[in-house]
């Protein structure tokens, strides 16, 4: 089985969010970038397929050279090869277009993407690549088994979960649950050394048009201080929630 894992290069959750150039660009100053958490669960599941059932695992990112350390980290975790599509990730559709080209060229059976990236939270890329490549699609996927060309998946739904069957080629939008958190791997020295020798191919983008454009960013207004209520005066809390906040 040929597996492609889509890797988004995102600011670590604890990063301070600031903007530059008249609030039009994300300020990367002092920001640590990581593999998008939802993608890390997917990558780990791909490693499981590789080790238990035999599969080749390619990781891919659409982005500039600054994303290569994130791809190298994925190689150090155990992916066989990496592809970087050399263009700025301007919107979900543009990314999906580039990834679909990689998928068509590489003939992958299973594409694992994260449910959403933690920077733009669009949740659009997995479904769009499924739509563009005509593959089956399971979103919010928390468990995946593949046998031959058949797949069984469990996905989270509002208020519960659902078991589905489908077939390859398949795209999933994965998340926590695909593997246990304790199974996530930290690259060791050997992995890091081996990653240096693994191929990281840079491919040039295909032409696309931006369907959406980011005009600018805004930050929420600073929050007022908390109103503390004594535990002995909960009538006051009920009163505030009813009369001031008007939420009960």
């Amino acid at each position: 089985m040929k597996i492609l894992v889509c890797i988004s290069h995102v600011p670590d959750t604890t990063s301070k969010i600031n903007f530059t150039e008249g609030d039009t660009k994300f300020d990367t100053n002092g920001v640590q970038f990581v593999i998008n958490p939802n993608d890390e669960f997917g990558l780990t599941r791909a490693m499981w397929f590789k080790e238990k059932q035999g599969a080749s695992v390619t990781v891919v990112n659409v982005g500039g050279p600054e994303t290569e350390p994130t791809l190298r980290k994925a190689l150090a975790i155990g992916a066989d090869e990496a592809i970087r599509v050399n263009t700025e990730a301007i919107d979900g559709f543009a990314v999906a277009k580039q990834l679909s080209k990689v998928i068509e060229d590489g003939g992958y059976d299973l594409v694992i993407a994260g449910r959403e990236s933690i920077d733009y939270n669009g949740g659009m890329v997995p479904g769009m690549i499924a739509g563009l490549t005509n593959a089956n699609f399971v979103n919010n996927c928390i468990s995946l088994e593949v046998e031959g060309t058949n797949a069984t998946a469990i996905r989270e739904i509002d208020g519960g979960k659902e078991t589905v069957t489908t077939s390859l080629p398949l795209v999933i939008g994965g998340q926590k649950g695909l593997v246990e958190e304790s199974d996530l791997r930290i690259p060791n020295m050997r992995g890091i050394m081996m990653a240096r020798k693994k191929p990281l191919q840079v491919v040039e983008p295909i032409a696309t048009e931006a369907e959406t454009s980011s005009i600018k960013f805004e930050k929420p207004a600073p929050k007022g201080a908390v109103t503390l209520v004594s535990p002995d005066n909960l009538d006051e809390l009920v009163n505030l929630l009813h009369n001031e906040a008007k939420v009960i």
Binding site: Y120, N121, G131, F217, V226, L228, L234, A245
Partner: protein, 319 residues
């Protein structure tokens, strides 16, 4: 040309988010000087949609569509959009709508904006405000394509009543091959789901063990709220994973979020920042959650929660 909105239902009944997206669609239609058409799938009575600004309803009734299927539903909405020559298509941010929307965007060649929280500030160019960086910022986005697809963030626009009535029409679209087949569904049907809830009562590791959730459920019952939890709580198996909120769990955009015995780590806040009013109950006055909260009680959950339940019961009895 009209604005098309997909109004989701469950067992025939419209979800609250359906009425919210209908309200949103009406606001967009007013800006564009046009009408709103809703598409429903196996909904029993669509007349209520008129109260939220819908002018016309396309009712799809088809047993094959009893269980949600993203590809088929996306295709049905696409056919409805084409029939109506819709230039703007609106969906909610429920798990189902966010599943089908990217497929619909590809099908319609529509630029797609997610997590939108306000009516467009301009319709030419079509400009919307959406949340980004797990609610730590907003992004102003324009959609450049002829057809636009907008996913409205739950509980962001609210319900806006419009006295009107909708005309109804049966619509029988072609149904594509499914590709993905549902085998079984495991869902607590008697409970308010986190996505639909206006009030969410959430508890963390401060509750000490699963045996102490009775009072959390009782508080949720009194308020008609959904229950939720922090990540360690679901990791420890005290509560189901479907209740885990936060960056790696579910997003919550409730009107009121009550956090009990939750420290307020940044990954937890990432999932609940979009909630409007936050109340924190915690023994530790230094808990980071107090910085994000609107109202706080520094106190022991085991004393505060039962007392709060009594106060709320008395308050509800007076209403």
């Amino acid at each position: 040309m009209s604005v098309l909105v997909y109004t989701e239902s469950e067992q025939g009944k419209f979800k609250k988010v359906a009425l919210e997206v209908a309200s949103y669609a009406k606001a967009v239609a007013n800006q564009l000087g046009t009408t709103v058409t809703a598409v429903t799938i196996n909904a029993s009575d669509a007349s209520i949609l008129g109260n939220y600004g819908v002018d016309k309803v396309l009712n799809v009734t088809n047993e094959q569509l009893d269980a949600f299927n993203a590809k088929a539903y996306a295709d049905v909405i696409k056919q409805a959009a084409e029939k109506e020559d819709a230039k703007v298509v609106i969906v909610s941010s429920s798990a189902d709508s966010k599943y089908l929307a990217p497929l619909l965007a590809v099908g319609l060649h529509a630029g797609y904006a997610t997590n939108v929280i306000e009516a467009p500030s301009s319709t030419s160019p079509f400009t919307v405000k959406r949340t980004a960086f797990t609610n730590k910022a907003f992004n102003i986005t324009t959609i450049n394509t002829d057809v636009k697809l907008v996913a409205v963030s739950n509980n962001s626009f609210g319900l806006v009543e419009n006295s009107g009535s909708a005309s109804a029409e049966d619509f029988a679209p072609a149904i594509p091959e499914f590709g993905v087949h549902v085998q079984s569904v495991d869902k607590a049907s008697d409970k308010v789901s986190i996505a639909d809830a206006e009030i969410v009562v959430s508890a963390g590791r401060g509750l000490k063990g699963p045996e102490n959730w009775g009072m959390i459920e009782e508080l949720a019952d009194v308020l008609g709220a959904a229950t939720a939890c922090s990540k360690p709580v679901s990791d420890l198996g005290w509560r189901p994973h479907s209740e885990h909120v936060g960056q790696t769990g579910k997003p919550v955009a409730a009107n009121l979020y009550i956090a009990i015995g939750i420290s307020g780590a940044i990954q937890h806040l990432a999932g609940i920042n979009a909630s409007k009013v936050k109340v924190v109950i915690n023994t530790d006055p230094e808990a980071p959650f107090f910085k994000a909260a609107d109202y706080g009680v520094v106190g022991d959950a085991f004393e505060v929660v039962p007392a709060l339940i009594e106060k709320l019961k008395a308050f509800k009895a007076q209403q």
